[in-house]
């Protein structure tokens, strides 16, 4: 009986298994679909715990489909059952590494955020200082202009003017340094990769530039320097310092300028401002050069040497050579001695003493003039010297002659006076006693000898 029941049961199972069937296609599709879901889940996993959970589920999934391994090996061609799972394992491994990197980066991001916040604070502070300095500089510039218009020339006035120029120079220099610091700070984080910055990063830098009014500040910086250069006369040391400051800024601009152009590549308004800054920097350079030539011309002017104005090395050379030529050719109009004095004054005091000693090193190092041009001027000066050397010798002979006359005359005069004094002494002493006759005689003889 029991055997009969068992047989019926086996038959039932057999037929029911025949009746209940699954489509291979459906099994394959389900496998593919779940495989894809796991791929997505791995990609989006955010923690290691999530990943461990997924790994466990994948193991269950594998066990579930193990019975269809043969089918899937054929259906998944060119892949197969095992390869599908090794793909998932590789993805898990990759995501694991990625999560570890993210964790490290997260720490870095926190650090960078803290740095950014600190930097923003510093930028704000620097920006405030820049504004304050600009106000001071504007006031000082106005004072300087007012002072120059009423400039009297007394010692106190000159000292005040010097003091004012010093303060202004210091103020501008300090402000320039602050702006350079702002530029450094803004681009510090993006130093080598502005080209590869994404839009969000570019926007962040744009915000910092806007908050610190960097572009406007740079424009003001150059304009103030231009005003300062145009309003004052400088010594060679001043101009050397100003030139160094320009070079420093120019170097920075050639580094940061293209980055700013890149950041504002789609902003025509700021692009125009940047182009304007480019032009102003060229002006700055030429204004410094002009200021050098103007200051040198002023030296000649202050020494009452009338010389044509010049704006470059060639004009400078021509102006000096023209002046020397006119001095050489003016023999008829200027007396010989005066001509010699003019040469000595020009060549030794002004040319050698001031221009060559104080200005020439800078002119040569900045290539404002060439050593050939200086040699030409020196040659011309020696021509001038030669032309005035004849009058100089006459002048010396005349002085020697006059001196000889003066010396001889003086000796004769002293002699005569001494004789007169002696005669008087003899007449006074003769009456009281003649005891010292012999001595007087001997004295007279001595005087005569003398």
């Amino acid at each position: 009986m029991n055997i009969k029941i068992c047989l019926y049961f086996v038959c039932f199972l057999f037929f029911s298994s025949l009746l209940i069937a699954q489509s291979d296609y459906r099994i394959t599709q389900e496998f593919k679909s779940r495989h894809r879901s796991f791929e997505i889940a791995i990609e989006y996993a955010k923690t290691n715990d999530e990943l461990s959970k997924i790994r466990k589920e994948i193991n269950e999934f594998k066990n579930e489909f193990k019975g269809n391994k043969e089918l899937l090996n054929r259906a998944l061609y060119p892949s197969n059952f095992e390869a599908s799972f090794s793909t998932l394992s590789k993805k898990i491994e990759y995501t694991n590494k990625k999560l570890a990197e993210i964790s490290t980066l997260q720490t870095k991001v926190t650090q960078v955020e803290a740095d950014y916040s600190k930097l923003s604070g510093e930028l704000k502070k620097l920006s405030t200082e820049v504004n304050s300095l600009r106000n001071t500089n504007t006031r000082l510039m106005a004072e300087l202009k007012a002072f120059k218009s009423g400039y009297g020339g007394s010692k106190n006035a000159i000292d005040s003017l010097k003091n004012l120029v010093g303060q202004l120079k210091q103020g501008i220099s300090k402000r320039d340094t602050l702006i350079k610091e702002i530029m450094d700070n803004i681009f510090m984080t993006a130093e080598h990769k502005v080209e590869s910055l994404d839009d969000v990063e570019k926007k962040g830098i744009q915000t910092q530039i806007k908050n610190t009014s960097l572009i406007d500040n740079i424009r003001n910086l150059i304009n103030d320097n231009l005003d300062f250069l145009n309003a004052s006369l400088f010594t060679s040391n001043d101009l050397a310092l100003l030139r160094e400051e320009f070079k420093d800024f120019d170097q920075r601009w050639s580094h940061f300028g293209p980055k700013l152009f890149d950041i504002y590549s789609t902003d025509p308004k700021n692009q125009n401002k940047l182009h304007e800054i480019d032009t102003l920097i060229t002006d700055w350079d030429s204004t410094i050069k002009m200021s050098v030539w103007r200051s040198i011309h002023n030296i000649f002017k202050n020494h009452n040497i009338n010389i044509d104005e010049f704006e470059n090395g060639l004009e400078f050379e021509n102006a000096i050579i023209n002046h020397i030529d006119s001095e050489i050719n003016n023999e008829t109009e200027i007396e010989g001695v005066k001509k010699d004095q003019n040469y000595v004054f020009f060549a030794e005091r002004v040319w050698q003493g001031i221009i060559k000693n104080e200005w020439m090193p800078m002119l040569l190092s900045e290539n404002l003039i060439s050593s050939e041009q200086v040699s030409k001027i020196d040659e011309k000066l020696s021509d001038w010297k030669d032309s005035s050397s004849g009058t100089k010798s006459y002048f010396i002979y005349a002085i020697i002659l006059i001196l000889a006359f003066i010396i001889i005359g003086s000796i004769l005069l002293i002699n005569k006076r001494q004789k007169t004094l002696k005669n008087k002494d003899v007449s006074i002493e003769e009456s009281p006693s003649k005891k010292n006759d012999s001595e007087i005689k001997s004295d007279e003889e001595f005087i005569d000898d003398k």
Partner: protein, 147 residues
């Protein structure tokens, strides 16, 4: 010359007599192919493409009934192709001949048409399912389940 003719003749006879066996053309699983608006199906794994408008017309007497439908296709070990689609009452058996699918046989499987037909490869037969329910085994000679 005679010798050459004799050799060529022998070669031709020997070519005609070559038979490669045993051969198995069976696909591991069926493919489900969507029909495009012009009635074409395109199977990328086995590089098969054909127009099924006539198949649908034969089944439904409606030349537009193929629209928005899909065809289920499988090949058995002998190389015959079995086609069916949702709503079909018959399984169509084709063989490939001279660049065409030529109908070899047609098996009636449902009086009201199958809603969720599916093929399984069960060598040497093809299993036909309705959803998850086994219907019949088929081969190129006919339905096995009825035997």
């Amino acid at each position: 010359m005679k010798y050459l003719i004799l050799v060529s003749f022998c070669f031709l006879i020997s070519c005609a007599q070559i038979t490669l066996e045993p051969s198995d053309f069976a696909w591991p699983i069926e493919t489900v192919l969507n029909i495009d608006e012009k009635g074409f199906i395109n199977e990328s794994r086995y590089s098969i493409s054909t127009n099924v408008i006539d198949l649908f017309y034969a089944e439904t007497n409606d030349s537009t009934s193929f629209k928005n439908e899909s065809v289920r296709l499988i090949r058995d070990t002998k190389g015959y192709y079995y086609m069916i689609a949702s709503g079909f009452k018959n399984v169509y058996l084709f063989s490939a001949n001279d660049g065409k699918f030529v109908l070899t046989n047609k098996f009636f499987v449902s009086e009201f048409g199958l809603d969720l037909p599916a093929f399984n490869q069960r060598k040497p037969n093809i299993e036909l399912l309705e959803g998850e329910k086994h219907l019949v085994f088929i081969d190129s000679n006919g339905i096995k389940g009825e035997e």
